[in-house]
Symmetry: C2
Subunit: 333 residues, 2 copies
DNA sequence: TTGTAAGCGTTATCAC
DNA sequence: GTGATAACGCTTACAA
């Protein structure tokens, strides 16, 4: 691989001049610039990004920590982040935190050991304290799907409460009164907020939520299956099942049908997130859209603005969900 | 950030010694080693991976090019690759090729500009020539889901022909005779092979495939919907619909039901790939398993073995698919 | 076992 | 405008 030395020799100029035409900022006479460009071309020169990083103290890399690299939710998130950063000439190093504290810490350490200029973190188990300590260490990062008031300006979040509220509204408007709820894990803020918003919608209309019709799952399909099954077998009637995310809704739909019931004639189902497979479900799932693509893009822009000062686009940190009407929710006469 | 100089000063040893204890290969007296370790700890020293890369001419990074970062297939692939590499202390830089030649080239250029030690490529539009030229340039890479005989040892592939054959066998064993096929794009090798294997299975049993019951889609859900719909409206009867991948199967299932037919009573459906959402479909999709996780892991191991010489695990480049029986395929009396 | 010193390929600060 | 030259923070012969 040719180096800048060979280019400078061939072009008959100094290192500095070659560097100048590469970076295009300083003034170089057009004719010398051409000589350099030619030399680069004939040598098939490519600058060493490693040497550039060492000299400039900037790696142009941002670390991305997600819970899993598979899964429709993270897929959309990673895709939007990568594409936004790549347009700006930055690359991302992606790694997984596996929803475990130790693993999330290790992931951050790993990214830091790679000298990322900034991090985008989707962490579930890490404490606020740990994250605030990162901030103290002058590590620049943005949190996605996590709210810490002290650093609100670097948190990109969804209004989960509103989403839960919209879900509640939707089934009430459809005339349902006997309603079951498949909750997410209560230690997760988003799960709590979705549930709180949901309950608020019901309360406002004076509809009571039977405690026997609440099941706490873990956001995975299997727990959706199990939850719906138990709810069904408990004997408490319901005409609508609201699920705190789409995975659980998918599991629940299977359970409902395995119990011989029809969706949505016997029971309506509503999900949350609007991940891609919801359109493949039968019936197509009515759900609350989580604009994870937009949020990923915004997380990337925050980095671009704060760390690289390369964009001035306006910043938004709180996003709003919205109802997506499909066929799994049916009006109750 | 503390540097190696400060560590060496504090520990009262030379740079080289610090470097030695960091890398753990050369011999260092236990007592001096402890001094160095202590100094590192009190300074909270972290080596600069950038400087290490420059000095050692190894970035410990492997570039990964996939068509899209979202999508269940790529998700599983990326997850397995990342986890295998990470265990070995390597990181991956992931980017998207978007199934377009220009974009795939740009992706590779991008990864190369980042000085990756090796690449793992899932490319669709790039020519064999281009890939062989990469090889000539001494760029170390492995191809996933792509067979080029001249560099077979660095191609990790699935036996798609066998998969198509298994699919054909499965529906014949279930007693179907009137069979429709939703093919993948004919310019893709995997699509061609799946179809060829499928046809072979039918031919061996003397079952004819009506040309009017073949539709060429593009592996996306929408084309599955469209294909199934056209097949249905064509008036040619069939009791089983075989799809060249799961996405199209999902679309087809929606089309079949939108046309008032039942799955699997009126028509059986079989998919290919066994991506995660197939278990959420109703009825759960019978499909051919594509062991993409194992293949991703193997791709990573190939890199670990060839580029980093860090593993000696045995290498396998051809993988076999297998039938996964679920509920969408029903025996025909 | 440990130290010295020459790279690695850039950027950036000065002069000129 | 252009050229020297000193960083940047490590690794790695080669000596000692």
């Amino acid at each position: 691989m040719a180096t800048i030395y060979e280019v400078s020799a061939l072009a008959g100029v100094s290192l500095a001049t070659v560097s100048r035409v590469m970076n295009g900022n300083a003034n170089v006479r057009e004719s010398t610039k051409q000589k350099v460009l030619e030399a680069m071309a004939t040598l098939d020169y490519r600058p060493s990004s490693v040497a550039q990083s060492l000299a400039s103290n900037c790696t142009n890399s941002v670390g991305l920590l997600v819970s899993e690299l598979h899964g429709p939710f993270y897929g959309t998130m990673m895709a939007s982040i990568e594409s936004e950063l790549r347009r700006a000439g930055k690359h991302c190093i992606i790694t997984a935190g596996h929803s475990e504290e130790k693993s999330e810490k290790a992931g951050i350490e790993f990214l830091l050991s790679r000298n990322c200029d900034a991090l985008i973190l989707h962490v579930e188990k890490l404490s606020d304290e740990y994250l605030l300590a990162l901030k103290e260490k002058d590590i620049s990062f943005v949190l996605i799907n996590r709210q810490i008031d002290a650093i609100a300006e670097q948190c990109v979040t969804l209004d989960n409460h509103l989403g839960g509220y919209q879900m509640g509204q939707a089934i009430l408007e459809a005339g349902h009164q006997k309603i079951a709820y498949l909750a997410g894990p209560s230690w997760k803020d988003d799960a709590k907020e979705r549930f709180a918003g949901f309950k608020q919608a019901l309360e406002e209309k004076g509809v009571e939520l039977d405690p026997a019709l609440i099941f706490e799952g873990n956001f995975q399909e299997a727990s959706g299956y199990k939850g719906a099954r138990e709810l069904l077998l408990s004997g408490h009637e319901f005409t609508a099942l609201c699920c705190a995310n789409d995975e659980m809704a998918a599991g629940a739909m299977n359970a409902i049908r395995d119990n011989g019931l029809d969706i949505p004639n016997d029971v309506s189902v509503v999900g949350f997130d609007n991940v891609s497979f919801t359109q493949y479900l039968f019936p197509r799932l009515t759900t609350i859209d989580y604009p994870v693509g937009d949020m990923g893009q915004m997380a990337a822009r925050l980095i671009l603005k704060n760390t690289y000062k390369t964009t001035t686009s306006t910043i938004q940190t709180l996003f709003k969900p919205h109802l997506v009407k499909r066929q799994s929710l049916q009006p109750q006469e």
